[in-house]
């Protein structure tokens, strides 16, 4: 009997520790680094364990999105890299990794749709980012806003044409 009580006590302590860890994480501000308005709110819950997602289990969506945003290819970076621009630059292709992490996290956890929309909107709006990545963000933004974002005039016609001419989204 006393053995069972001890076991319940240990389990309760472990649960309390887990809750405390999450509470600490809630209060963490997303890292700064060019993610302009709108920023994510710090009170985003931790993603549940993700057996079907590429996102690390202990990462919350805000952190994932912030990290992804910070890694998106900037025109200035391209211009100073000396990279050949005859074909699609490597920094552009590399961004497929970050964009995929965000889209998979959103697909597996649609409860973060609002934060995902903020991410895609910030990306599509940011004219320091490469045009191709902004077009891909706008296409995904249009998906999550059911097309309204393409119609509200917030983006240039050129960017809208580019986004609308892209192939259908992979498995959304």
């Amino acid at each position: 009997m006393s053995h069972r009580i001890a076991l319940i006590f240990v389990a309760a302590m472990a649960l309390a520790a887990a809750l405390f860890t999450n509470a600490t994480r809630y209060s963490t501000e997303p890292s700064s680094g060019g993610y302009d308005s709108p920023r994510f709110q710090p009170s985003v819950p931790t993603l549940p364990s993700q057996r079907h997602s590429s996102a690390p289990a202990d990462t919350n969506f805000a952190e994932l999105a912030q990290k992804a945003f910070d890694s998106l290819p900037r025109i200035e970076t391209l211009r100073t890299s000396g990279e050949s621009v005859h074909h699609a630059p490597k920094i552009l292709l590399d961004s497929s990794e970050a964009l995929t992490q965000v889209s998979m996290a959103l697909r597996d956890h649609p409860e973060f749709a609002d934060q995902g929309i903020e991410f895609y909107r910030a990306c599509a709006h940011n004219d320091s980012l490469m045009t191709a990545v902004r077009a891909v963000c706008l296409q995904r933004l249009a998906f999550w806003t059911k097309g309204s974002e393409l119609e509200n005039g917030a983006h240039s016609q050129e960017l809208r044409d580019l986004a609308q001419g892209l192939p259908p989204l992979p498995r959304h």
Partner: protein, 282 residues
């Protein structure tokens, strides 16, 4: 001497029949691993069934359909010889000296990298560049390709140079070089360079235009032709994307292809017009 020429011809004919479905010939300067990947790419395009092309897209590509045979035929006519990054064409030119009157940037679009590290070669159409040199200088140029001495008298002389960048820079991060998506990306590049083997008059070789604004401002990385190399590349990649999707490519692979399509489409300048793709000869 005649016998030697005969042997040369026989050698190249045999080389053309084996190795890859397009009969592309590789110079000794192409590393074995690169040659092997390209041959795999060509086998993939020869075995990939694409959906039926729209009339507009077929017109851009200048093919009758998107069958495996048509696509291989496109490459066979426009990309016949591949030389490696170490191949120095300046040392292989015969009977004429090159002057620097023509800007090679219209094909390679490299930035002035000085004092930055040297830009990696992805792929460029050396043959078309030499053709424009010969044409603008009224010279007869021949290029020594080992067993072959090629007279550069057509924009469709079809000699391309590749570099490590074709495999390292032109690839989706973390995805195997022999994955379908990375092979499709390279196939798009072959078709892009293939279009540089077309055109006539002021539009011979379908040169790139200087971008007036945007990501590539002041680089020769845009085009005024609605059927130019970037249009060809974006159009073909759209069909390859669909094939990749039905063949189970991962989400990241598909995202990489989408980014490429967006990038190439973004390079078409407003008001781009269709140009006659028939190849010019001297």
């Amino acid at each position: 001497m005649k016998k030697l020429s005969l042997y040369s011809v026989c050698f190249w004919l045999l080389a053309a029949c084996g190795g890859n479905p397009a009969g592309i010939q590789f110079d000794a300067s192409v590393p074995g691993n690169q040659k092997s990947l390209i041959e795999g790419d060509l086998k993939l395009i020869a075995s990939t069934r694409l959906s039926a092309g729209t009339p507009e897209d077929l017109k851009i590509l200048n093919v009758t359909d998107l069958s495996e045979a048509s696509l291989i035929g496109y490459l066979r006519e426009r990309v016949r010889y591949v030389v490696g990054e170490s191949f120095s064409y300046k040392q292989k030119i015969q009977t004429a000296q090159l002057s620097s009157t023509f800007d090679s940037e219209v094909f390679s679009s490299t930035r002035d990298a000085n004092p930055l590290p040297q830009t990696q070669i992805v792929m460029w159409n050396l043959g078309s560049y030499l053709f424009l040199q010969a044409k603008s200088n009224n010279e007869r140029i021949t290029l020594d390709l080992g067993l072959l001495n090629i007279w550069i008298r057509s924009v469709r002389v079809a000699i391309v140079q590749i570099g490590e960048g074709l495999f390292s820079a032109n690839a989706i991060k973390g995805i195997a070089l022999d994955s379908k998506a990375n092979r499709f990306l390279r196939i798009g590049t072959y078709f892009h360079e293939g279009r540089h083997s077309d055109g006539n008059g002021s539009n011979a070789a379908f040169p790139h235009a200087k971008c007036p604004s945007g990501d590539y401002k002041d680089d020769f990385a845009c085009e005024n032709n609605s059927n130019g190399p970037y249009a060809v590349q974006a159009t073909l990649l759209k069909y390859l994307y669909a094939a990749c999707q039905t063949q189970g490519c991962s989400e990241q692979e598909l995202t990489g292809l989408t980014l490429s399509i967006a990038d190439y489409r973004s390079r078409l300048l407003p008001g781009a017009t269709f140009s006659d793709p028939r190849p010019e000869q001297l």
